[in-house]
Symmetry: C2
Subunit: 383 residues, 2 copies
Amino acid sequence: MSEEVGVTVRADSLGDFCARVFDKMDVPTDDAAVIADVLVAANLRGLDSHGVARLKRYVNGLRDGVMVARPKIEIVHQTPCTALVDGGGGLGPPVSVRGMKLAIEKAREMGVGFVAVRNSNHYGIAGYYSMMALREELIGISMSNASVLVVPTFGKDAVLGTNPISVAVPAGQERPFVLDMATSVVTQGKLEEYSRRDKPLPLSWATDERGVPTADAARVLKNVLIRAGGGILPLGGAQEEDGGHKGYGLALLVDILCGVLAGAGYATTIYPRTPEGKPLPANVGHFFGAIRIDAFRPLDEFKATMDDIIRRLKSSARAEGAERIYIHGEKEFEEEERRRREGIPLHPTVVATMQQIARELGVEYNIPLSLWLKDELLYTAYI
Amino acid sequence: MSEEVGVTVRADSLGDFCARVFDKMDVPTDDAAVIADVLVAANLRGLDSHGVARLKRYVNGLRDGVMVARPKIEIVHQTPCTALVDGGGGLGPPVSVRGMKLAIEKAREMGVGFVAVRNSNHYGIAGYYSMMALREELIGISMSNASVLVVPTFGKDAVLGTNPISVAVPAGQERPFVLDMATSVVTQGKLEEYSRRDKPLPLSWATDERGVPTADAARVLKNVLIRAGGGILPLGGAQEEDGGHKGYGLALLVDILCGVLAGAGYATTIYPRTPEGKPLPANVGHFFGAIRIDAFRPLDEFKATMDDIIRRLKSSARAEGAERIYIHGEKEFEEEERRRREGIPLHPTVVATMQQIARELGVEYNIPLSLWLKDELLYTAYI
């Protein structure tokens, strides 16, 4: 695809297609809509590696029986402020939305609510769930553990996931603060992008099978797949000098809350396989939280102060050569506005994969594609 | 001081001296003991920049009236799970111990407890308070905002503090997990150490008055003092490539919870000064939390799983050239054992400053010094 030619799709058409795919895979209609919404939300926010590019993995998971279409989701244990939820081996988004709703209900009632989820799967973008709290003007927290990709400081083998942390905080006139970060330097998606383009990695990102920094993205991805050693480095890099032990600590903290506290998989016990290498249910864990602001301070005061801190940061002096100082979530909100207007740009391989899924499942593929040359819309058509 | 000659003091003598200093400054006896314990705990854990090296600042703060010796500490607002506490402008440790105790009480009762503190001062090591939860087999959380030192990503001016996060989690047979990290690449203490030794900084640590990476520690420290621009970089460095926006996001999150939510100072409003440059009460904010493990999962199961994840990490393969994989807090626990046995090594300037404080306040200086040559104790004497 040339840089000047772009193909975009409308969010609603994309979501509708995804929902029909999950419907066809025997996922209950409401759950199918939730999963589709979580995937498309990632694309809208510009986080394409967590968007419909994941559709195939979800479909394969359901087809192979490692993900359950109609899981038995149950509250294993609860107190007025906390709960442990079992996802029954289903897809991540439905149980995560339920878990986060439960945390929000508890926070509305008690000021604070925390819900751990076990026996789940990949849940998409962490920020989807933390941002659910914003509608209720609560602080929202969302974390998940993930497949093993990240090496501990001084370690050769990947033992932890990219384990994201998201915290969303409402503001007044300003947009909310939405931190949504992998605790590794980069995500797997970024490595895949470099590998596709055959671009050398910065040496601060990943290590090879000896545990030594490498620029070879394809090698790192292959190594982690076959567990040959090496992986992505924690935030802060390979050494303690730049704080690599801090990123490692954050990744481990997420694994403790999502894996150990929830009774889910953790470290190398997540995404288990049979001795023959056949995948078993992943047993991913999540941790959700909601905090009512007026449990501490009047909401209007808080929101006015949020506006002030945001404005102080955004209007503070820029470093030489820098154009703008951002607040977390700001880029993604702007991208979402643009993509709702202009459509979501999709890589041709992602389009081809969706068409293949449609053919295999006998689902109608009816996503109109808009073709752009530079910033000019050429035409929109069904293909 | 040659590398081979060492001077150490006993923790109890050091704590006793500090407590007597605060007693003399009209701090209530119980509070004086708490402050001394927090300072010495930092030295015992090897975090010397947060130990008795801070004594002079605390004494000066009390003498100048920007810290209150007998503050009116009050609970401004509370719910069964939350509280907002006003520190009355007193020293950080006493109100922080009370705040954390309150969070622990609430967690024991309700499963979760969170306490925000405003109108406080520097509270020492974040981990002191999170670790208080370990005695009750709870997960402990501690954060604080701090004086302005850290630049946002793409920013020239320091707008945030090194804003530490600490989370402590109990284990079974293994030592607890104690994450205690500044959200910046390094702390001010580290820069001071490089400045003292005239050692060039790694270019990933700090920026100069133009916002450009610099190796000149003394210049950075001078610049932040007079607010000339530049400062310490957030965890992940100057650019988004290595995740600098993540460290910036964590620092901002801490400022939101400790400053904005608590109604304390935040961003550049913390540590205010008069137009003439005279310091005013700092209005530092803290955020404490405690979580009862059995609100989610039986404690014995949790502890056994903590042991397993810790052992998996510690026994995982090491990177080429690496000697050992650590769990967070492990180095500090080992250092504490060593320093309880061999004493706390103090820099001669720290000893001289304590002696000066003793003379000025008319407090007896009776800390016996042990002199070591390599690993051999030469003698212990009062000086």
